[in-house]
Symmetry: C2
Subunit: 335 residues, 2 copies
């Protein structure tokens, strides 16, 4: 056995996650190390590779093959899977984590780009830019005397959720003079008080007492469909609803009903069924700005996930706690 | 003669510019005062009204009729036209200003909403949200594996112009970690140094050394077409160009050529011909986000123009200098 750590990425993953000096830095941190493109690897070949190198650390991109059930006897030294992208569910089982495998992913390093997309959708909603872009491209139109546009300046903004994305969004909104209020049912009021953040008593008041609602809450089984038709209808006339979190937080039939009425501007990056079916009723509702789940890290900011992985590899090498370990509890909440 | 000042607005102008206590405040500031809806008034009736009331101050909205050439003998007391919206050219002649009439308009009070629209178009360009909204609504699409999106974080941003809109835009961009560089040929380098703002040596370097270019420069006769095809082509591949200033700053044929190539993302709120002709070649270029000259104050922020007018009326009453007087030089630059 050669006892080599593994960096499992193809060329395009290396270029996007670890550009410049970063690939070298990772190789040095986990030396001795092989860089392998395993994209086309058969399961047998992958198992054989794991057994041959018996790595202590695996750093992987999207092309990383799933860790086989028998990984703990194939590669008994394995301690840490540093998965650079997000979705680890199809790479490693919860059982391996329960048995002690340390796993991280891009964690909070992508929060600012998600918050940026939320801001974009919020601005698009209030200015109705999706509507106007469509009227100008496909209907030869220009504004008339009755055009109504709105701003984020001095608006009442409600944020459902108080994780890393919410905090980044609050930072981005700080340059507007918006009055921001937050609600997240897991968070004690003392936390909001300490952070100097205004909070609502309930999801009902968050929705009914603000003009622009951002959905950035984490999805848990209890929160499936928590944003129902009545809640959406309680947003004041002419308001906006933006979802960059998870489609299942919203009751989909209710969302469609409200979207079709046109009294709200809506911005959606996530859906309860993805890809959104080609004939879905939301398509064609021009008061709804649609994007295909692209709020996550933009191509040019994948490097933030690379830097996050490097920071965690440094911590691991120094015997320190990594940032954002995927515990079995966290694993169960991943989507 | 009754010697009454005039507040010339219709009901919808009063509601949008002077909501709440503001109308009363204006009436008190310029008492004695008549509030008149002159929208349907014939020129004779308007001239007669001016002569009858002989106002010292006229406060007006869009529905204000043009001041007749003979206003100085019809209403010899007239000192100040406080026009609440923007375009005074069709309300008052330059000659009247040269003869000493004090004129103001909404001035810089609208700058933040224009900057907000510039940010929206910039974010739309880098994320390609107009393109995706179109693909999802009209083509039943979802993203594929090769989707490329970009962010404003850590991007090189160039701003052409250094007036009130540029300064507001710099403030809005401050929450992104973008590296902002400015160029404006009228502004001495010392001003940028004093403000702590990075500046380019030339328009050429501004365009070729940044990824996202915002056009917010004032239009002067020398600047017509200053952004030509070569300059647009010098923006690095995959970059973006946003114009919320004036269409005539950009050479229109060159812009269309570059737009059609698709190597840049483009966001346009202004055009060299407005309304944009129904069959214009920019329509249908889905790398171009179009809006119909709506960057100016949003409907909900017209109240900022009202507050700006009230501030100027207070200054006028105290014998102080007003903010943003329309001098003959400023008048000639208005579009």
């Amino acid at each position: 056995m050669s006892e080599m750590n593994l960096l499992i990425m193809n060329q395009s993953e290396l270029a996007c996650f670890l550009p410049g000096r970063r690939q070298r830095e990772v190789e040095e941190l986990i030396a001795p190390c092989c860089v392998i493109d395993a994209e086309m690897m058969e399961p047998e070949e992958w198992a054989e590779l794991l057994a041959r190198h018996n790595p202590k650390v695996i750093v992987g991109g999207w092309s990383l093959p799933q860790l086989p059930d028998g990984v703990s006897w194939m590669a008994p030294r394995l301690e840490y899977l540093c998965y650079v992208p997000g979705t680890v569910r199809d790479k490693v089982s919860c059982k391996m984590i329960e048995k002690g495998l340390l796993v991280t992913n891009w964690g909070r390093s992508i929060s600012r780009t998600v918050a940026e997309c939320a801001l974009l959708l919020g601005l698009s909603c209030v200015r109705r830019s999706g509507y106007w872009n469509d009227r100008m491209h496909h209907h030869g139109e220009w504004k008339d005397d009755f055009v109504t546009t709105k701003s984020l300046f001095d608006r009442r903004v409600g944020i459902h959720g108080y994780g890393a994305i919410a905090k980044e969004l609050i930072r981005l909104l700080s340059v507007f003079t918006s009055k921001v209020t937050v609600f997240s049912d897991g968070v004690p009021k003392g936390v909001f008080d300490y952070d100097g953040v205004e909070c609502s008593d309930s999801l009902n008041s968050l929705f009914s007492e603000n003009d622009v609602i951002f959905e950035v809450e984490a999805l848990t089984p209890e929160r499936v469909g928590v944003v129902d038709e009545a809640l959406l209808r309680s947003i004041p006339e002419g308001g906006a609803f933006v979802n960059v979190a998870r489609g299942d937080l919203v009751e989909s039939k209710g969302l469609l009903n409200v979207a079709k009425e046109g009294r709200l501007q809506i911005g959606l990056d996530v859906f309860n069924e993805e890809p959104l079916p080609a004939t879905h009723g939301l398509r064609g509702c021009m008061n709804v700005m649609l994007s295909p789940h692209i709020a996550g890290p933009t191509t040019d900011r994948m490097v933030d996930a690379g830097d996050h992985a490097i920071e965690n590899l440094k911590r691991f090498c120094r015997g320190e706690a990594v940032v954002g370990p995927i515990t079995p509890e966290v694993y169960e909440r991943l989507t």
